[in-house]
């Protein structure tokens, strides 16, 4: 167990270092002069130098990496767009909570929808309800956000006028983006829930519980679902990072002013420093959430079934 945790922890740290190296040194690896690629061939020497300096290309590789890490850590990192080079960190500080909000709401929505659906489907195994639910979830993972989002806008915002289309403020504005972002995860989790419930349902302790004459409802909710949800919630946790990445597309569709929008805008502005800071922040979050889930699961899992069985 300890070895497992140590390995995960190490992998997380190495990933973060790896990303840092990639985002700092990648420009050196591409064929041709990166500055040419970014500024075009007509750029004057002054502009080239300014850009080189802004993104640290004038330094030797190890110094470039070090400078980047130092600037991030001290909050000194600035956008790579002369002459107005604003600090990057306040930008991220402003956008990150909005992305987190969207991702958390989407995840809660996914869990809240997927679990009832999966349990229902498992309890009615083999019936039309079950098939319907499972086909729904298969379709759910196949629908691209870039299609679902606009369709939701069209129906709910444009035709029915119930919800604000894009951006906007207040609680109503988050409904459509959250649904868009959550559908894939919802579909996946409902399948997971179903198979997990079916698995647990076959365990001895459940059979015992039934033999004791407990009501079916009690058996299902108290014994089966409780145990079945452990892996489901774990996967949900593991996928939170992926949900963050998925938010980039959702944010673009709905004009949601979060990290994804910042990242895409920075790309369009050719603001390389903000781009790499965004990528790094996303990665760190992703890695941390995965690590925490891993550890939590590692701690909970080996015992939960045993205890459940004894009840």
């Amino acid at each position: 167990m300890k070895a497992f945790l140590a390995r995960r922890f190490l992998a997380a740290i190495v990933s973060i270092i790896g990303v840092t190296l990639v985002v700092t040194l990648f420009l050196r690896a591409i064929p041709g002069d990166a500055v040419d690629v970014m500024l075009g061939e007509q750029a004057g020497e002054v502009d080239r130098e300014a850009l080189r300096e802004a993104i640290g290309l004038h330094l030797p590789p190890h110094m470039q990496v070090w400078t980047f890490i130092r600037d991030i850590a001290t909050g000194e990192l600035r956008t790579s767009l002369p002459p107005f080079r604003a600090r990057v960190l306040p930008l991220i500080g402003e956008k990150l909570p909005k992305t987190m909000l969207l991702a958390v709401v989407a995840m809660l929505l996914a869990i809240a929808m997927a679990i009832p659906l999966g349990v229902l489907s498992a309890r009615k195994q083999g019936t039309a309800t079950d098939h319907g639910a499972m086909i729904f979830s298969l379709v759910g993972v196949s629908v691209p956000q870039a299609w679902l989002g606009p369709v939701l806008i069209l129906v709910f915002a444009i035709h029915l006028g119930w919800l604000p289309a894009l951006g906007g403020e207040g609680a109503r504005a988050i409904v459509l983006p959250a649904i868009t972002l959550s559908l894939g995860m919802m579909a996946m989790l409902s399948r997971m829930t179903r198979s997990s419930v079916l698995d647990v349902n076959r365990e001895d302790f459940v059979t015992t519980a039934r033999a004791k004459g407990l009501a079916e409802r009690t058996v299902i909710w108290r014994h089966v679902v409780r145990n079945a949800l452990v892996p489901v919630i774990t996967i949900a946790g593991l996928q939170f990072g992926a949900l963050l990445a998925g938010a980039i597309v959702t944010e673009k569709i709905f004009n949601w002013p979060g990290m994804g929008t910042l990242l895409i805008e920075s790309i369009q502005r050719r603001d390389y420093n903000t781009v790499r800071a965004c990528v790094l922040v996303f990665t760190v979050l992703y890695v941390l959430v995965n690590l925490v889930t891993d550890i939590a699961y590692g701690i909970v899992d080996p015992r939960i079934r045993v205890r459940g069985g004894k009840r």
């Binding site: 497992f4 390995r7 995960r8 190490l10 997380a12 190495v14 990933s15 790896g18 990303v19 990639v22 990648f26 083999g126 098939h131 499972m134 298969l138 993972v141 196949s142 629908v143 691209p144 956000q145 870039a146 299609w147 606009p150 806008i153 069209l154 444009i158 559908l183 894939g184 995860m185 996946m188 399948r191 997971m192 179903r194 198979s195 698995d199 349902n201 076959r202 892996p231 774990t234 996967i235 593991l238 996928q239 992926a242 949900l243 990445a245 998925g246 980039i248 597309v249 895409i264 790309i267 781009v275 790499r276 990528v279 996303f282 990665t283 992703y286 995965n290 690590l291 891993d294 590692g298």
Partner: protein, 323 residues
Amino acid sequence: MKAPFDIILRAMVLPGARPTDDEGHQVIPDFASSPKHPRSRRISRQERIRRTLRRYLLAWIGLGLVTLVTLAAVFAPWLSPYTPDAMNLANELAGPSRAHLFGTGDNGVDVLTHVLYGARISLLVAMLTTLVSVVVGVSLGALAGYAGGMVDGLLMRLVDVVLAFPGILLAIFITAVLGPAVEHLILALALTGWVGYARLARGQVMALRDREYVQAARALGATPLRVVVRHLLPNIAGPILVSATFGLPAVILAEVALSFLGLGVPPGTPSWGALLESGSQYLLVAPHLAAFPGLAVIITVLGFNFLGDGIRDRLDPRGRRAG
């Protein structure tokens, strides 16, 4: 990107979805099929036939859809009523009509033509990415599994690291720096795509490594390369194939997402993601624009998923026995 492709890759298909599984055993949650404990539930013969039919029905539907899309992609130049760059400014963003079955898009391009050519881009990117990922992943995975020891340790740590990394983000970063182009897209997606296959191949090779027939081959003086290529790879081809079948739609969704973000293909190139992008921009005046490319994506991805389910059930002896 929908269900960021890691979601699908990691949770539905590839090993490594569950953190406790360190040996790379496939822990496909076995959706839609088969209890794993035959004793716990008795299934009538009729029920079994019914289910088998149903399962294979979906697989056949999947195969049909995939074939359809592939044919559309291959024969796009012959099937398309127009050329992809033919503009007709007088008939911009018009709804479906006899002349334009799927309507027209920005600058009056024919949406049907773009959907057909978009199939080319999507399938091309998906297949090449998967091919590169499989070749690299399986080679490294088999090497790690067969050699064991230090080599294995190092490679698997590398796999851990890459797995801990949100693939789509790296792809965004790389295409943002290199600029939109099909080659860059493939490079960006394959760079993280190989790890799943590496893990899978390693686990399978480790499981087979000490089988008698392998030991026999080794005793007869076969070189390690020969052992791997002749005796091990053929036996692990099945799971790899299943994995790749699920990997393809994930790559397609990733490509669509990147093109939607304007990072996939150069402006003006017909692609599903780009069509969806202009569809989302012209929602008010041309709701048909997003509909058709969206359906194309859904059909393709669903087709591969159905097909993958079918192949998996067919190849996985445990699954079949239980089902």
